[in-house]
Amino acid sequence: MSLDDAFDEPAFVPYLAAGDPDFESSIEYVEALARGGADVIELGLPFSEPIAEGPTIQRAVVRALDGGMTPERFFEFVEALDVDVPLVCMTYYNLLYQYGDEPVRPFVERAAEVGISGFVVPDLPAEEADLLREACDEFGLDLIFIVAPTTAGERLERIMDRVSGYVYVQARLGVTGARTSLSDHTAETLARLEDYDVPKAVGFGISTGEHAAGVVEAGADGVIVGSALVDIVADGHDNDDPTADVAARLEVLARELKAGALEGSQRRSRPERT
């Protein structure tokens, strides 16, 4: 499924680590997000050294790896999912590099086969991404790049030249993780991207509907939410809660975040009261 129509209205883009804490529960969790209104789902393929992730997702990665997740299992996971939204694979470069008998291309080919729409690779800057861009073009997949608050000038041009699908706007410096307040960096970074004709999805730190509304109001086309959702999975795992209960909680938060995104766009179109 293509990412083309995913941002027709303000999009809710949730992230979960595939296979966290185990294959079967994780399938149900991802499907719950789709029911809750996800427009795109970012699926993490766990890597042992997730240098861009905060503690919440680091622990999710460990749970998923302990649960037996591998690249091949990940592809089986995607095939087993019954969802009607585009799926983006979020992983680290070494896994794309090692799969199959040559770097990158066999991985992308297999991803296309199971229906993946695109990639986010946090440790692959635009400068090193030619091989992946080429393979993505060959198999018709999108390559999403992250733009950070520190990204400007020539580097911004270079990234926007190579990006497709959407651009992942990092709301603040640092690593992934839920926060209670939003960073001022978001509006500045969005302003810098205004003239580029590609959807802008903001991630890092968004955990509530109100956050989501604020980000969309500031000009985002979508919100990416990871750690706040992974927290629900972690709590469920720690307390031995039934899978259905955890899935229900994920669906509730998903609805809140999607509603927040829609509310944000209404606020944007409403003139401010004086």
Partner: protein
């Protein structure tokens, strides 16, 4: 920025986007200050590494070892550098560079603690606040160095994720850097990481081979036939080799930690060794494409060595390239042989080496000792880089010695309480 970031197929800059502007800024600073000596940076570095650091370090003949092996063995005494290891060359260089760049804070990771100690010392010397990340497991096995860092005013932050060793500490330091990049410089502790770190760290350490060259020409009437250095990440290795790479007559041996075995338990995700040059596969870790210990899926494996300073799943990209081209010969020495060498050097030469360094001497014994396999005909004279002194390793060395039946080790238990 279009500076060449590669060594053959290796190297590059595989880091999160938030760090890329800092890497560009660092690349620019490296070119101007280190390569072009802008504002007299390298002059100040050389003054400080002489007066604060104690350079040049001696090139000393090892009389007992020379007699034992029937070859001329010389020791490059980096253990006599301030702080007790070669690590100060790089730490002082980078902290000084951070100062020239106008950064306000220093962070670093450490495995054995030598790099953390050197960075803490350099930061204190240059009046910069400093935070060191260290795996919990390494904190437990390297307590003296933890105290030294604290006494020099550095914060030491334990890293609990994973197995709590250097690999996890590097990941955690990168996360800190991604958060604080505008004011903070990350002093990487070896010739690893994204460009320009591998080249820059090599340049700060190449003072070692510069001195080996000058001292050999002066004292021995020619260049060494062989240079032997232990390799974890590879910083003392490249330091000892850099200025001799163009002299094909000098054979260069990188001695890796063979741990308890070179076979691998892929199911457990653990390599019982740290020999990434000898056994690793190409991949991408911590910002660079290099040789790595990884499973068939590309997940990074935990490494093992009796020496926490060699206990790392990757290695510098330049060394990977030099091994592929045949210029550097990788060899391995196991835990047991390294411990025997630790005691031999201590007893025969009166030098207690770091356990890292002991691996280099283990290689001499394994080849040329009374039970040696004679697999290598050494070109003489041999210079062994004594990368660091073993004071920090005493507890570990005693504990590990007691687990084994080493003929040449003193019996320590007679002094127990």
């Amino acid at each position: 920025m279009s500076t060449d970031t590669k060594f053959g197929n290796y190297g590059g800059q595989y880091v999160p986007e938030a760090l890329m502007p800092a890497i560009d800024e660092l690349t620019d600073a490296y070119r101007r200050y280190v390569l072009e000596n802008e504002d007299g940076f390298m002059d100040e570095f050389r003054d400080r590494i002489r007066d604060f650091g104690g350079r040049p370090t001696p090139l000393q003949r090892a009389e007992q070892l020379s007699a034992r092996y029937g070859v001329d063995v010389y020791l490059k005494r980096e253990d006599l550098l301030h702080g007790g290891a070669h690590k100060l060359n790089n730490a002082l260089g980078q902290v000084l560079l951070a100062k020239y760049m106008g950064k306000e804070r220093i962070i670093a990771e450490t495995g054995a603690g030598q790099h953390g100690t050197a960075t803490a010392m350099a930061a204190a010397h240059l009046d910069m606040p400093c935070e060191i990340y260290m795996g919990r497991r390494d904190i437990n096995r390297q307590r003296p160095n933890v105290f030294r860092m604290r006494i020099n005013g550095a914060e030491v932050t334990p890293v609990d994720v994973g197995r709590g060793t250097l690999k996890e500490a590097i990941s955690e330091t990168m996360r800190d850097w991604a958060t604080t990049v505008e004011t903070t410089h990350y002093v990487i502790g070896s010739i690893v990481g994204p460009a320009p770190f591998p080249a820059m760290v090599r340049d700060f350490h190449s003072v070692i081979s510069e001195e080996i060259r000058a001292q050999s020409l002066d004292r021995l009437g020619g260049l060494p036939g062989s240079v032997v250095a232990c390799a974890g990440g590879g910083s003392n290795t490249m330091g000892a080799f850099a200025e001799l790479l163009d002299n094909e007559g000098v054979t260069l041996y990188a001695v890796e930690a063979g741990g308890s075995s070179l076979t691998v338990d892929e199911e457990a995700g653990v390599a019982p060794h740290s020999a990434s040059l000898s056994t690793g596969e190409e991949g991408v870790l911590h910002g660079a494409r290099t040789k790595l210990l990884q499973d068939s899926h590309g997940q990074i494996m935990e490494s093992h060595s009796v020496s926490s300073g060699l206990d790392y799943s990757g290695v510098g990209p330049e060394l990977s390239h030099l091994v592929d081209t045949g210029r550097v010969k990788p060899v391995t020495v196991g835990d047991d042989d390294a411990l025997e060498a630790f005691h031999r050097l201590s007893q025969d030469e009166g030098i207690i080496p770091a356990l890292e360094t002991a691996h280099a001497f283990g290689f001499l014994e394994a080849v040329a000792g009374p039970d040696g396999d004679g697999s290598v005909e050494f070109d003489e004279p041999i210079v062994v880089n004594v990368s660091g002194r073993g004071d920090k390793d005493l507890e570990a060395a005693i504990e590990e010695t007691e687990k084994r039946n080493l003929e040449n080790a003193p019996r320590m238990e007679v002094f127990d309480r």
